[in-house]
């Protein structure tokens, strides 16, 4: 990534208010406690066009923002958008490993309204609907997820299923799943029972 020092300095000043903030999206995979969504039957308010089938908007728990980082406009309102691809001085904790040779921040984050994301079409989507953004590339996963097959399931098999956002389990900037420490191995069967009286 290219570096443009002047702009960076500006950004540093503007971002002092949220110093140390990090978008630790999806850190600690799978740990967030999902909520059981109410029946999500309302037609999608953000439906792209009449021609396309209307997809239900799914109820999800709040996106996993790190403390104090949202709304992004708190800082960004004061910063004129710079659409040039470059290495940032802010948000340095973000190490983009998500098709990084082809992609950077503003492919997903909206430069005009930092509090939302945008699709390839330019349509803006809320963070609570970020799955539509992910689904643009990961169509098969998205379809599976909507069917309740991709992703963690909670709630009721015969009622309301609990859905999580992609970002609850996958850090959008580094979506590969982290390895975990396994729980203890079972005890090997032993000729002498430890538990026996």
């Amino acid at each position: 990534m290219r570096i443009e020092r002047g702009r960076i300095r500006l950004a540093v000043i503007a971002a002092v208010a949220v110093s140390g903030a990090a978008m630790l999206l999806g850190r600690g995979a799978g740990e967030p406690e999902p909520q059981t969504a109410a029946a999500a039957k309302a037609p999608a308010a953000t439906a792209q066009s009449q021609a396309k089938p209307v997809e239900e908007k799914l109820e999800v728990p709040p996106p996993p923002f790190s403390d104090g980082i949202y709304p992004c406009s708190t800082c960004h309102a004061a910063v004129p958008p710079n659409r040039t691809r470059r290495e940032l001085a802010m948000h340095t904790e973000i190490d983009l490993k998500h098709d990084e040779t082809h992609r950077w921040c503003l492919d997903c984050h909206d430069a005009d309204n930092r509090d939302v994301l945008h699709l390839a079409s330019g349509e803006k989507v809320e963070f609570t609907e970020s799955y539509r953004l992910c689904g643009q590339c990961h169509g098969e996963k998205y379809r599976d997820w909507r069917a309740g097959v991709h992703g963690r399931r909670t709630g009721n098999w015969n009622g309301t299923k609990g859905y999580l956002l992609c970002a609850h389990c996958h850090n959008p900037h580094q979506p590969r799943f982290h390895s975990l420490a396994p729980k203890p191995a079972p005890e090997r069967p032993s000729r002498v029972l430890s538990g026996g009286k």
Partner: protein
């Protein structure tokens, strides 16, 4: 196949009028006589028969109380009798563990056939499911009983259990070159374990869950020899659970405490699934590899998986027809 056992008879006549009612311990001379003779016809293959037979015997009645009101009666007996029995159990457990225990008697829901699917391409072998299951289902902590066994397999060898290692213990999972196959009860359509039980203490419920009556099992372990999946576990000593760790939400055929000398196994968390909830292992799985639902519901995850994914069942050639599908989502 769903209902291999005739269910004639016992219900109201046997248990209701004379038999199980004796659970308060009295002698029901005439009533029992009636029951006994009424049942002389055919007891073969009819587990309900035994229930009122037992009940018919005043002498052993006190010993047989719980048993007498065992599995079949659970759904066939008049509701008030059943509640009385369950209340007794609840009282016993509440006293024993010092916390309010609830024992459910929920029967199978009409139009529901449970099935399970596990995504082999996602499972990372972290064993969260194993311990969530232990906590939910009150397995003995010492000696240790796990209903779920997570096998680490070699990618070069495929699903060949002669290369399975359930005792893997690296710092981090998944390990390079391996995949993971957790195995618990496969809730077979045609369960070999049920076929061999000499006392009929285990059977398949109408919603497909294979259950055990812990009060009727004699502990011969023939079912364990018959099970192709190592799903059945025996209480080699008196099971131990700290009262603080006891899950007080129980089902009569599920996670109520067992005694030494009986067999136990996964019941798809019958105490949860019959309330419409997902089993504990499904909810805890951090990678979302575990799926559960109703086979008869065309919009269920399970149907979606069967219709869209590559699936396999373990030891298909044995014709046990598992209700537990392994699949590859990617």
């Amino acid at each position: 196949m769903l209902n291999q056992r005739p269910e004639a008879g016992c219900g109201s006549e046997g248990c209701g009028s004379g038999g199980c009612g004796t659970q308060s311990g009295g002698s029901h001379g005439t009533g029992n006589q009636g029951c006994g003779s009424a049942g002389q016809g055919d007891y073969l293959g009819d587990p309900s028969r035994r229930l009122f037979n037992i009940a018919a015997v005043g002498a052993v009645a006190s010993m047989a109380l719980n048993t007498a009101c065992g599995p079949k009666r659970l759904y066939e007996a008049p509701k008030d009798k059943l509640r009385a029995l369950i209340a007794e159990e609840e009282k016993k457990y509440t006293a024993e563990y010092g916390k309010t225990v609830k024992v459910s008697d929920a029967g199978p829901m009409p139009g529901v056939q449970f099935a399970y699917a596990l995504d082999i391409s996602r499972c990372i072998g972290c064993r969260r499911c194993v311990y969530a299951c232990v906590d939910e289902n009150n397995q003995s902590r010492d000696p240790q009983i796990h209903w779920i066994k997570v096998n680490q397999m070699d990618k070069d060898k495929g699903v060949d259990f002669s290369h399975a290692d359930p005792y893997y213990n690296p710092e981090q999972v998944p390990q390079e070159g391996h995949f993971y196959v957790p195995v618990a009860c496969q809730q077979c359509e045609d369960p070999p374990c049920v076929k061999v039980c000499p006392t009929g203490a285990t059977w398949k419920e109408k919603d497909g869950i294979v259950v055990i009556d812990y009060d009727w099992c004699i502990g011969c372990r023939y079912c364990m020899a018959a099970c192709p999946y190592g799903a059945r576990h025996f209480n080699w000593a008196e099971p131990k659970i700290a009262p603080s760790e006891l899950n007080p939400n129980m089902h009569y055929l599920g996670n109520r405490p067992r005694t030494k000398g009986v067999v136990e196994k996964c019941t798809f968390c019958i105490q949860r699934s019959r309330e419409g909830r997902y089993p504990a292992c499904v909810e805890v799985c951090p990678v979302g590899a575990r799926k559960f639902g109703n086979l008869l519901d065309a919009s269920s995850e399970i149907r979606y998986i069967i219709e869209h994914k590559r699936i396999l069942v373990l030891k298909e050639e044995l014709n046990t027809v598992p209700r537990f599908f392994y699949f590859y989502a990617t």
